[in-house]
Symmetry: D2
Subunit: 406 residues, 4 copies
């Protein structure tokens, strides 16, 4: 079995306990508060209360790895150690924010930690780590297949001491949120560079910069993921000082590569939590309903679905844990095959599991009375997030063929 550190085991117990005391009992209240909120993308008072509690109990910024521990109040948790924590948070979709561990802020904070200048860290990372502001990562564009990052077209042009941005982005998670203050924007600074991986740069753009239009929130399967949300953005002659550039011109692709591996795995971890909880709900449901004279739990097909789901969750979890271990040992690049294997396997598996669990709940299983429908949307969405599965299958297939074809 995979061995977790003592710290991880401590946090697992503490987090599980926190969820029992503060998260599950507040699920209905959260939904209600969001429904009654004057704006879909306003911060909710309940969230702030819970954040304060989580921080007070030391359940804060748990995503930070040991190599970056100087930025947080604990000693850092490896990917393996963090996995069961992210799984626990995945049981309630909105809960990661309570622990300052929600996407895309976790990935963005890592970018700041690794590539930010001291001034950039002071200005943006500090309030992000404190949970005071939120951030977005602006990569995907509506008019091109952004899974191939070399397709990206947003222009970042040097003009004196500034850079000027023109282009369009969408699915910019967090950009709708009223707390969001900073965008990390990927674009082309050198579109004619013969090396297709040196044409891109990443640059910091404060949300309120003139020329930015937050066009609209996007939905997936009917969900707007409020208050965090996904936005479509237009950049028209958006001007920022040259100091806002991250790492250096032409290094945008490099930053993107480093950022996306762990992000994909965090999604997988959370999805496993969502599947596990759906399975538990289904087990409870089938002992409380009867049709045609038998408790649902006694129907052979129900037992088969439960058994398959249990086995699939075990397999998905083990694959993710192995991927984490490998990432901890050799870094995301050396774990590329396992990251891809997780990315193409876990979301589709979780989608199928939750589909079954909803079905066992009857019509109600599809409603907002349960967490499953929204988790189903999350799983479905992850088959597109960070690139459609097909792109990762292409890369992984190529790598495996090469490895065995001699």
């Amino acid at each position: 079995m995979f061995e977790f550190s003592e710290a991880s085991r401590h946090y697992q117990a503490a987090l599980s306990d926190f969820m029992d005391r503060h998260i599950y009992p507040n699920e209905e209240a959260y939904v209600r508060q969001l429904a009654e909120s004057p704006s879909r993308f306003a911060a909710l008072p309940l969230m702030d209360e819970l954040k304060a509690k989580a921080r007070a109990e030391g359940l804060w910024n748990l995503f930070v790895p040991p190599s970056l521990a100087q930025f947080c109040d604990h000693d850092g948790l490896s990917n393996l150690d963090y996995a069961p924590l992210a799984e626990l948070m995945g049981r309630v979709l909105w809960s990661p924010e309570v622990f300052n561990c929600n996407a895309p802020d976790t990935g963005n904070m890592e970018v700041f930690m690794k590539y930010g200048s001291p001034e950039q860290q002071e200005r943006w990372l500090k309030p992000l780590l404190a949970g005071e502001i939120r951030s977005s990562y602006a990569m995907t564009e509506p008019q091109v297949a952004s899974s191939d990052a070399t397709n990206i077209e947003l222009r970042i042009a040097r003009d004196g001491d500034d850079y000027v941005l023109n282009g369009r982005k969408w699915f910019i998670t967090g950009a709708m949120y009223e707390r969001c203050q900073i965008f990390i924007v990927m674009g082309k600074s050198d579109p004619d560079n013969p090396s297709r991986h040196k044409q891109q740069s990443q640059i910091l753009v404060p949300k309120g910069t003139p020329g930015i239009t937050v066009l609209r929130p996007l939905t997936t399967l009917g969900y707007d993921d409020a208050p965090i949300g996904h936005a479509e953005l237009v950049f028209e002659n958006v001007r920022v000082p040259k100091e806002n550039l991250l790492l250096g011109e032409g290094r945008g692709f490099e930053i993107a590569q480093g950022r996306l591996g762990p992000g994909r795995i965090h999604h997988c971890m959370r999805l496993i939590g969502a599947a596990q909880r759906s399975l538990e709900l289904a087990c409870q449901r089938v002992t409380r309903r009867s049709t045609f004279g038998r408790e649902l739990s006694q129907h052979q097909s129900v037992r088969e679905d439960i058994a398959k789901s249990f086995a699939e969750i075990e397999m998905a979890r083990l694959l993710v844990l192995k991927t984490c271990k490998r990432m901890d040992e050799v870094g995301p690049k050396g774990a590329m095959d396992l990251i891809a294997a997780s990315k193409i396997s876990v979301p589709i598996m979780v989608q199928t599991i939750i589909d079954r669990c909803m079905q066992m709940h009857g019509a109600g299983g599809l409603t907002e009375d349960y967490c499953m429908a929204e988790a189903f949307n999350y799983a479905r969405w992850c088959r597109q997030a960070d690139g459609p599965d097909q792109v990762h299958q292409m890369a992984l297939g190529k790598q495996i063929i090469k490895a065995y074809a001699e």
Copy 2:
């Protein structure tokens, strides 16, 4: 091949033409009008305009079968003849209402035609056929597995010249809609009757009757299906005159049986239209996008998905047409096996096809920019509507085993 009557072929051409002229060009306007509507469940001006046009062109109440042709302005269309029309309407989810052919009103109108007294027909059927009011069919209950109709608990108690209703219903499609004026309510009038299929009655309850609380709209996968919607309703001492009873005490199960067969098949027809349109959108999409140097349409996996979807749509459509033909020949009861076969096959197939087509659209495929995500929800929902697939598999499996086991 299945032969359609000349009337059906005429309507197919006229309807297809109408959709080209009035429906597709208004899809964006419809979404916008709904989004800007002061209430989610208000009638939309655009709908009224389109209804007037459709009626003027004779594309009205096409669901009415020959046996009930006295109630409509055409000679009636058999199930087979209606199938390609419903498929066309299924290409735009909200369009059936334009032609006064939307669920649950079609099924309810049939109930009125077959079982209503002349007074009931005058009072409710006439405005329904005119598209002036809308109706609901209140069967499903939250606290019991309603797919087994004998589980239903809402009480319909005789009290002098009245009946008094007490109970709870949910997933009552249309009940949220401001145009909805009448509920057909299924409940137990004789819970102690030794025959479990004679305990139920159906009764007419005007929406505004005191004691009814429209508790809330329900969502499925995040969709509220506004403005028609699905409601949760509470009945507390709701009193209606005894004349509101349909057909007679203890005949509720009989009415339900007659109503549901065609309803399921209408869903299947519309779903096939939704799948067909999704396939067409995917074909267009893959010729407009390139990744890694190749147009999507040239990827072998894209072609495989398109080919499979084409074949599956053909098979689903043929199964539905055969079912229609059989229903026309021997009635829904004699076509029970084929109705069940369609019910358990078409929605899941369509869900899978639309899932593929969305995936070929990238992240955008999941948004409201395309009709696919909402159609996906419709397909998913139909695996529960009119009873979960499992219940129909149980009944069909039993019937087939009996037929072949000697």
Copy 3:
């Protein structure tokens, strides 16, 4: 529903009756006779007895279409009319030969009827139609992907008044059979022709011609399909007179195109019969076994599998019938999309259905005690026969995309 001619309905009844009287009662005897045969590929006495009976009852050469009726003793049966007959024969894998309707002889006889000279017809077609000799169609080659016919390498070189053949073939169905006397061989007569579809010719090669080595029988999933079998053949300087050429030099591709469409559909028809029979066996089985206190037929998962299989068989059958109808109306070329749709859908569906039915039979379901295991192999094999499904998906996908992409 699809309407069958009176002739077809007559033959359906007669064939079904013949199977009841002579085929099913001889299934065990056939297996035994084959097992005890001195050679795996010898003709079996039982087959000869049954052929005589079938011919006497007029159940002979039913595959011959109306356009070629001059070659047979009936008026010809359209593809649609033949479909239910082929389905019936598919219920017992070895039975098509009884009616002189087995692959590859049916396709080969069609080639002779359409493209053979009077001399060729007299010499080969006549005894084939009489069931006295058997034939093979030698197309697939081991060293190239033969699904792309332009890859074929066997050389057909003109030398004076002869053609000389050099090359290797495999999966040559029937070539092992002792009754087989004639091969139709596809090869390249003009490898440098700029038109890649004019490089091929087809030529008649008597089995005993010097230079031919019947290398070995091939198995698929452990089955040798004896006595018909599949052979690997080597051609070394095999010399035949120029009169043996079919149709003309460079017209091999054209002949192949015409031959393969109906062949694929015949496989589908027979597979549907195999699936239908497996389903019937499963229905019988589950009423005769109990586990854990319940008859298998009462397990919900058993009913679900039976219900799904019933629905899938209906859909597969309808797709094949529609394909036949279209072929009858516009020829195989105009029905290319539906032929491909059948080819990629029916074998995999039938494989899945039989897999389920075997599973319901316990361990015995995989043995030779039932017809299912061998039928499973037939379905699996058909996913490769006449080209792997993937090639047909590629072509069909391309065609559909083009049709809808504007």
Copy 4:
């Protein structure tokens, strides 16, 4: 990651090396020797040569666990340590016998080690451990659903100092093999015992005992698994001395429980090896074939299939390793849930993976030219062996529901 002991790592390297030197180079010779063998179930000289070599290199009886190390020449290998070794052996289906690690002898030897008397061990275990004789485990019966062991009907009746056996068994692996000398037979010694799990006993029956008829070899999907094979046996008044009873009257169920857990897991381990090898073969194949102008390896659907197979093998392997670890820690009983999860997941997954890999090989993939078709049969067969998956899903589903339903 799961940590293997130094001993396991040593054996992994040695075994892998042995396979490179002696197994892979002899695959063709083995097939040929079997084909030319005068009897399907005779011992092959090649096997004896290889066994001598393996034993000489210390690759012998590696399945023996530490708790039973007194019976072998090494210190025992835990389930976890043995897993990668069994996986390696699974790459060539007949190779486990080379290392005296083949089913059913491994399980039978464990029965002798744990439950045999010193006399029984001397007489049967010793030559089994030396690879001199083979054994069978006779449990399954043709006329009852044997997955529910309480259904078993073979009668073991006490008569003076003897037991007399009457009944019928089938799928008795190894019983055809000429080296097989001893059967462990499960039957009912006390059919009227009110405890349904105390009615059974297990008893030793030498193969040559009068009254035993070896009726016939059984095939699965056309394979007879020669020379080990699966037999149908009849017991008519078969008389053995009372000393042949194992453990004690009424303890047959207890022995069966202990035997089957590891057996199922060994099958899974070997299947993973078979899948892994099929994947490797597919990777090699797709770089050596071209269709329609592209190498197969460049087709997106090929890459997707390779990528999915890689991910699934990883997941299956991890699940099995976790199961092993748990078995090592708490015994098979405490690992029941994971054993069942492996049993219901691994064979079906491997069947699917091998199906894909065969398909990438074209028609040849189904023949005896590759190891895949027979491995496919092994995977398919394992969905029935030790009880159909459905029975294990029933038990596992029940257990999981109970665990989470509160």
